[in-house]
Amino acid sequence: MQEAPTANPENSSLENTEEYREPAIRIKELDFLYGNNQVIHNVTLDIFPKEIMAFIGPSGCGKSTLLRCLNRMNDLVDGARIGKGSIEIHGVDLHDKSVDVIELRKKVGMVFQKSNPFPKSIYQNVAYGLQIQGVKSKRTIDEKVEESLRKAALWEEVKDRLNENAYGLSGGQQQRLCIARTLAVEPEIILMDEPCSALDPVATGRVEELILGLKDEYTIVVVTHNMQQAGRISDRTAFFYLGKLIECDQTKKIFLNPSKQQTEDYISGKFG
């Protein structure tokens, strides 16, 4: 097996260019392990505010693990730990003792592969996050529910049946409801783990439109196995292989003329 080269820092950071911006997320030389099994190797990557970053790579390459590291979802997995390196959000180390994980997950929301609405009404699904935060005002919650459903491009479809069970929605609508639920708690960053993999092309198109619409307000990191989807929605794409970041560059560049042969072979379907 060919050794995966380490990431080119020039491609994973914009520090050396005129476009330099403070990253929203800074991953520095990160090693991550499940027990003794190292699944992420020395990954360094900056993700900038209000950009859509796509993580691509074959199954088992570590992209979902890395995504889950970004809001410490891996804390829930026995034996999961950082070997070395760090992840910072606006300069704050996520593993610093001062970090409140609940607050972190409010700030860094997550949408999963399979839509997972609560067995409650459409309204309750969106309101729930606010209620557990202690928001009591019915008016504030009503406004936030409507705003979130509008942002998730679902309001027009559900406004007359807010009290119906969320399970009555189609798969695509359920996924947009989950996005609305994430938006309600006003995150700054949204992580999406294959958000369209269970959806038909029409529903996928709607979710993609929604993601593009959210870009003005949120930093979005999306894991996808769908190369065309990465090409359609992301500003930059990072390709991972065997836990290593092989290449990160502008999406247009990755899909037209990637720098690394491994990237080209993967996106062209020659392996993976």
Partner: protein, 225 residues
């Protein structure tokens, strides 16, 4: 193991090269028909153009099918986009060859001045453009663009030559104009060869040099000076 998609790409490459070779053969046939007054050959060139047109249609259909079914990316995508564009340039070369063959029947001049030389350079330029499609060579591509300046100069000389012929004997103007049109056709053929080589640069490197200021004729002329 070669996948069906890779097999398709290889077939498309071969078909484009065949098309290019046919167009170049047509052009040489047209010039031979012109210089030797061979009307049978001229007719054969006109017939061959249909074959070139058919190949362009086939390539267009097959590339569209590949794009829609495989959604290619990176070098595969660049190859397919280039095949579509290059096949159009080759088809235009075929059209110019047909035009030269058609005009060959209408010329009665014994002196074609720089036409034979232009024809020979055009043949080489097409050949070189097709060869860098097979094996990329940027220096060879640049040599084609420089060579095009030489052809422009020869066309200019033909222009002056034709002008002087008409001034000497205005009754020959109709025949002389045909020579001038043929010269223009050859000049256009060489432009198509340049376009093919520029598309090849995109195919190999993803750089779009079609309108790059440093490769425009004026810049290349200055560089030569």
């Amino acid at each position: 193991m070669t996948t069906q998609f890779e097999h398709n790409l290889e077939n498309l490459r071969s078909k484009l090269l065949l098309m290019g070779q046919l167009a170049n053969d047509s052009l040489q046939g047209a010039i031979k028909a012109l210089l030797e007054g061979d009307s049978v050959l001229a007719k054969a060139v006109r017939v061959k153009d249909e074959e070139i047109d058919d190949l362009e249609n086939e390539l267009s259909e097959e590339v569209t099918s590949c794009l829609s079914t495989h959604a290619p990316v990176a070098s595969d995508l660049r190859l397919l986009v280039s095949i579509i564009k290059i096949s159009h340039e080759v088809e235009r070369i075929g059209d110019e060859a047909k035009a030269i063959a058609r005009r060959s029947r209408k010329t009665a001049t014994p002196d074609f001045h720089q036409i034979p030389k232009m024809g020979e350079i055009a043949r080489e330029m097409i050949q070189d453009a097709l060869s860098i499609f097979v094996e990329y060579d940027e220096e060879k591509a640049k040599a084609i663009w420089t060579r095009d300046l030489e052809v422009d100069q020869l066309h200019k000389e033909n222009n002056q030559f034709c002008q002087s012929l008409v001034e000497q004997d205005p009754t020959t103007s109709s025949s002389v104009f045909e020579v001038l049109f043929i010269s223009k056709s050859l000049e256009r053929v060489c432009d198509h060869a340049v376009n093919i080589s520029k598309e090849t640069v995109f195919m190999a490197t993803s750089r779009d040099v079609r309108h790059a200021p440093e490769f425009k004729k004026s810049a290349l002329r200055k560089e030569l000076e």
